[in-house]
């Protein structure tokens, strides 16, 4: 496959940046999208040009590091996959592919396609945890009976890898799917109930302080989420938040 790539290049956070055209030839349909970018970068290095900076780590679809807005969708046109699991067979010979960084005021571009997603870390720090006594008499989590439906739903929420595709896909750059998954995974379990009120209030406050937009329930986040996190989590977070607000 021979492809034309329109890639966002930006030297640093202060640079204005813009799209630059590149040609990549002899791309195998079995390559992953990141491997195709590796081929491009190898070519650029051989020509003494600056390679394209992009995030990646595990390349197994579980770390949430790879981002990229490909042809107008987070992680590209495939469903339920991250960019590292997106294969070139999803494209056709001669295609022009737009590759842009995840766009949000709360995800500023660091360089080229790499964005700063530490705002997610700060939201986690604000309440995405439980306090456990580790002084020697810790109760084994498996010793606490949990309703099967709640356990499964909490686990589904916990599969969120914090990649930020929800924010990138949302027309409002809302982070509610991510935050709601982190709230839900604890709200459904007995261990999470103790700090439930503070958790949801603090995490939502941090989310708002970071400059993410308001959710308008378009559902784009749910469709583009590589882990299939459901909108039901946002409804649950809304309930948790209102309950906590009335208490607090």
């Amino acid at each position: 496959m021979n492809l034309t790539l329109k890639i966002w290049r930006q030297k640093n956070a202060k640079d204005k940046g813009g799209l630059v055209d590149y040609k990549v030839n002899d791309v195998s349909p079995d390559m992953s999208f990141l491997e195709m970018l590796d081929v491009l970068n190898e070519d650029l290095i051989n020509k003494d040009e600056e390679p394209v900076a992009f995030d990646h780590d595990c390349r197994e679809g579980i770390c949430g590091m790879c981002s990229l807005y490909i042809n107008g969708e987070a992680h590209g046109p495939d469903r339920g996959v991250t960019t590292c699991q997106l294969h070139m067979r999803m494209f056709k010979d001669g295609d022009t592919i737009y590759i842009e960084p995840f766009r949000a005021a709360a995800f500023p571009v660091i360089k080229d396609l790499i964005v700063d997603r530490t705002s997610f870390d700060r939201i986690q720090h604000a309440g995405g945890f439980i306090s456990v006594n580790t002084s020697g008499n810790t109760i084994d989590a498996n010793a606490i009976p949990i309703n099967k439906h709640d356990a499964d739903t909490a686990f589904d929420a916990a599969t969120c890898i914090g990649c930020g595709a929800c924010v990138a896909s949302c027309k409002n750059s809302s982070a509610m799917l991510f935050v709601s998954a982190k709230v839900s995974q604890f709200a459904l379990l007995p261990q999470g109930k103790i700090e439930a009120t503070d958790r949801v209030l603090n995490m939502v406050k941090q989310m708002d302080d970071e400059g993410f937009g308001n959710c308008t329930n378009t559902g784009a986040c749910e469709v583009e989420c590589p882990k299939g996190i459901s909108l039901e989590n946002i409804a649950r977070m809304n309930r948790e938040y209102l309950k906590a607000s009335l208490k607090g």
């Binding site: 107008g72 750059s173 959710c215 946002i234 409804a235 209102l242």
Partner: protein, 223 residues
């Protein structure tokens, strides 16, 4: 509870509550309008009751006005805030791949509804307020009989006004197709018990505006 409106979820919740309130009002408005198709006398009686009952006029009407204003103002406030959350737009964005046109364009369908509402107020509400509270005629009578049904039919004689109302109701349907279920999601009603709401929401969003269109056309062709 303090400062709930300063949070994103609080604003969503308030927006949804005003939407639910307006949807109930819309149903009531439709029910009264529908009476005009079946019986002019019943429509006159109900219209006179609604127009002269102090509870409706001085308690319910101000609440409705507040609900309408709040919904529009909050809609614009949220839109401005949301636009600020992304400084640079995508060069290529495929919104249709993951969301409906209606959900992405609530502000535009809302704007058309606002324009329609202003026309509707100029047609019906302002003349009504003028007759009752400025001229001081609370009788509801004209030439010895109730004026409400006659006034309604008169308004729908010009085809341009009927067309304008039909366009307004199409935008209302587009707004409701996303808005109905969105309101329930915002108040936290999305779980295995509320799945049936989606179908009901679609039916409401299509049938109520369609009903208003049919009533407008009925009076145009039966004058």
């Amino acid at each position: 509870m303090s400062g709930i409106l300063n949070s994103s979820i609080g604003r969503k919740f308030a927006m949804a509550l005003s939407a639910l309130f307006l949807m109930i009002f819309l149903l009531q408005h439709f029910a009264i309008n529908l009476m005009s198709v079946f019986s002019a006398d019943t429509f006159n009686e109900v219209s006179h009751f609604m127009g002269t009952n102090w509870l409706i006029q001085f308690v319910m009407q101000p609440i409705l006005m507040f609900g309408v204003l709040f919904h529009f103002i909050m809609g614009f406030v949220l839109e401005i805030r949301n636009r600020k959350a992304r400084h640079i737009s995508y060069a290529k964005n495929n919104g249709a791949a993951n969301s409906t046109w209606m959900s992405r364009n609530m502000i535009y369908s809302g704007l058309f509804i606002l324009i329609f509402l202003i026309i509707h107020f100029l047609d019906f509400w302002f003349p009504e307020i003028n007759t009752k509270y400025i001229i001081g005629d609370m009788s509801g009578m004209h030439d010895g009989e109730f004026r409400y049904f006659h006034e309604l039919q008169e308004k729908f004689v010009p085809i341009w006004r009927v067309a304008l109302y039909c366009i307004g109701f199409v935008f209302l349907a587009l707004h409701l197709l996303h808005g109905f279920n969105s309101a329930f999601q915002s108040v936290g009603a999305n779980n295995k018990y509320t799945k049936g709401l989606k179908g009901f929401g679609k039916a409401y969003a299509i049938l109520i505006p369609l009903g208003f269109i049919v009533i407008a056309l009925f009076h145009h062709f039966n004058h």
